[in-house]
Symmetry: C2
């Protein structure tokens, strides 16, 4: 028992080494394991189950907004990837190449998809003929491969799981509306399901997606005050359509190029969940995506009637929450540690004394608060408590972000905050890439986004002093 | 209108050219499109939606039987694949190899998974220590790649979607029970959801999976009298465990090798659905996996009240069936053809006269039968009709299989049936691979399986005349 207990509690403290704390959690909470291919991770049942819950919610939202799922091949001929210049420049340095198949060397080499724009373009070119065929609103769930130099579970891996939406529209306006709509779907998802507040905004020219006309992003702030890009949505205009000749006959019979978008969210959001909500005891999962929302731990389970009552409660609770019971012969102490490590939102303790009083003890993972609840009230109290935990996690994360969002109106201020306080730094910018590059080089912070909610902090660029046109969120990022 | 109508009805008749009929359907029903990589197909929304319905049912069955989903990397180091001799011999000739990534040539070449036994073995070797860790019941949904010389949509493609279950058990008996249990899950699924009757049995030594101790299979008979292997389940014994050193401490603290299984079902079953149920007007989908179960076609929809009533009916029907309405300006005739091609089980026609009589017309896709139903009875009549269509499809497929299952007790009979009648041929066998090979070479039929339901057709092998030990189903196969 003692040995088991020690194993689960042995994680590095956040303040001692945040990176090690993160790595400890993903291993100890059994989210992932490493495979023998560098940078490729195994999503273990607990980690995959979080992803399944995320998928279920997003997939429903995509379908409600009129999108259909498809599956495109994982291989892209090199010549196809090379068609769009900016796009290939962005991805060529990090693609995995298949050169041999069976006993033969391939005449045309293939790349494993790093993203599937060109496949969708080729397909759209074939299936879109008239305005009746538009819009095309497709999405796919798959894995993609980008050869990364340094990798970390969830945050940056050679292969990762994601969804990629790819749409084609008749007009520029419709494409822009779609791009913003899907960014809002991501933002609402992060706030309402992951309890992670986000800043919505546009990427600068320098930071936008390879081949896009404009890229929108949601950015969130981790516990260590670094930013994480949590989802992106791109408007391609008719750039890809011209390269891939995707035209439709409009109502007057005239040929027009389509306008396209793409948008994606990845397993990276699980990294965000860990780094926004986790603590020194392990993972803290937002209730709405937690594989298990309530873990029942019977106390003195060898005593008559305890296991029976616990099983009866499990049967009741599973009508309104995802519940499990650990009736193994491990000690309650070991179990408490284990499910704290795994971030289960509510622990339910029930023993002989509780049964006598017809009550149970609910213990919140986030605050450790103990609540005595009559058994007869579980059907109202548990759902209410799950909702309260969600709100509380969101509020805490938002307070953390607000405490760590600073304003800089001079370069000295910018430098001081970047070096000492970190977090998000709001500052004005002239939109000249030279200033953006200087800030990055000098201070190791990058432009996270130009937020939709603009403020006029001052009239001049924080870097060069020329007239400013945009307020930017700056920060160190994953 | 006329032009559109012609396009959808232009498919080759089954009896003229079955292979062309098949290809026409997958294209015209918009199930798949070809990509620019040979043998890789695009699953279009309609085809993918069938797969999503299949996934939903199977995934639920897997979870109900205690399995958990995981995700393993798509890349396998060559050295890892080579560890198990039979396994690598079976798959090496058809793997895609990644030799370069980014700008570098890889020191250790990678293969794209053709199946993931070795990855699960490596992982199990790390996470299994004691009997408490067993059984491990994992499954994953993913795509795999096998470089095929000739390909056909769904039936044989370079990349295909599937699920692969991989389990580890303490004993030989538990592994065998799991293997049979999952075969039964597949068999029940085919019969209860796809309306496809199957023969359950064991593969011969020659036909079993590379590295398995025994392979079980479900075999079904297509409209053209060829067999299709629809799902397989393998018992590996402790063969892989010994190679990968997967041991656990039993209750006495002694190290034991685990016993493993794997089992898989692929998008190939969609090919079976097409070839078992389809007809000269297109696809015929079994109701339980049809993306749309009821398609409403308003008649004289420009007349007052028709579209409103049709929409009202749609609202009612969606409470108990997957329903869509086509209110486009295409003619009813075009729509009839289109949804027959797409195999929608029930067409609901409603026009001014029907509204007057408070009735609708239901048209069965499978029999073309027209049924007049009072609007007030749709909530009982439609579910009952969907069930009846399922049963009717199953019965028709079973009758077809029975008509085309023959008995051969002499080699002359076997030859005559193989050449003239085809279908399944039941015949006795001595279990000598030489006879199996001679039959394959002479008659181009292979052993499909040794069915669980054995019969004593005669006492001698149909090939060599020596004492027979097994009854075998023989046939030409996809």
């Amino acid at each position: 028992m003692a040995k088991n207990k020690k194993i689960v509690s042995e994680i590095t403290a956040m303040d001692v080494d945040f990176a090690q704390w993160y790595t400890d959690i993903v291993k100890k909470a059994e989210l992932v394991d490493y495979s023998s291919v560098r940078g490729c991770m195994i999503l273990r049942p607990y980690g995959y189950s979080v992803w399944e819950n995320i998928q279920a919610v997003l997939d429903k939202k995509f379908k409600e907004t009129g999108h259909e799922n498809v599956y495109m091949p994982m291989f892209i001929p090199e010549s196809l990837l090379q068609k769009e210049k900016d796009h290939v420049e962005g991805f060529a340095p990090e693609v995995a190449r298949v050169t041999h198949a069976g006993s033969e060397e391939l005449v045309e080499k293939l790349v494993v998809r790093p993203t599937s724009e060109v496949l969708f373009c080729e397909h759209y070119g074939k299936i879109i003929q008239s305005y009746n065929d538009l819009p095309k609103l497709y999405n796919q769930w798959c894995s993609v491969v980008r050869w990364e130099k340094t990798t970390r579970p969830f945050l940056r891996t050679t292969e990762f799981l994601w969804q990629e939406g790819h749409t084609a529209h008749a007009t520029k306006e419709e494409a822009e509306a779609e791009t913003i709509k899907m960014l809002n779907v991501y933002a609402d998802f992060c706030e309402e399901y992951l309890a992670i507040p986000v800043v919505k905004g546009q990427k600068t020219e320098k930071e936008k997606f390879a081949g896009a006309e404009s890229t929108y992003t949601i950015e969130s702030l981790m516990h260590d005050k670094k930013a994480l890009q949590t989802g992106t949505s791109h408007n391609f205009g008719d750039g890809f359509a011209k390269v891939f000749d995707i035209q439709y006959a409009d109502k007057n019979g005239e040929l027009q190029y389509v306008h396209q978008t793409s948008w994606g969210m990845t397993t990276r959001v699980i990294g965000a969940v860990i780094m926004v909500h986790g603590d020194d005891s392990g993972l803290v999962l937002p209730p709405k995506i937690a594989p298990t929302q309530v873990m029942i731990v019977p106390v003195a389970q060898h005593k008559e009637g305890v296991l029976e009552k616990a099983a009866e409660l499990q049967g009741q609770i599973q009508q309104f929450a995802r519940v499990k019971m650990d009736a193994s012969d491990k000690s309650p102490g070991w179990k408490y540690n284990e499910y704290e490590m795994k971030g289960v939102p509510i622990r339910l303790e029930v023993g002989p004394k509780d049964i006598e009083k017809e009550q149970v003890v609910l213990v919140r993972r986030d605050t450790r608060e103990k609540i005595f609840v009559p058994m007869a009230e579980l059907a109202t109290k548990i759902p209410a408590l799950l909702e309260e935990i969600h709100q509380s996690l969101y509020n805490r994360a938002k307070a953390h972000r607000e405490e760590n969002t600073h304003v800089a109106t001079t370069y000295e201020e910018l430098q001081q905050i970047a070096e000492e306080q970190q977090g998000f730094i709001k500052a004005m910018w002239c939109e000249d890439v030279a200033c953006e590059e200087k800030i990055k080089e000098d201070l190791s912070v990058t432009s996270r986004c130009m937020p939709f909610e603009q403020e006029q902090l001052s009239s001049t660029c924080v870097c060069c002093g020329k007239p400013a046109t945009k307020m930017v969120y700056w920060g160190k990022a994953y």
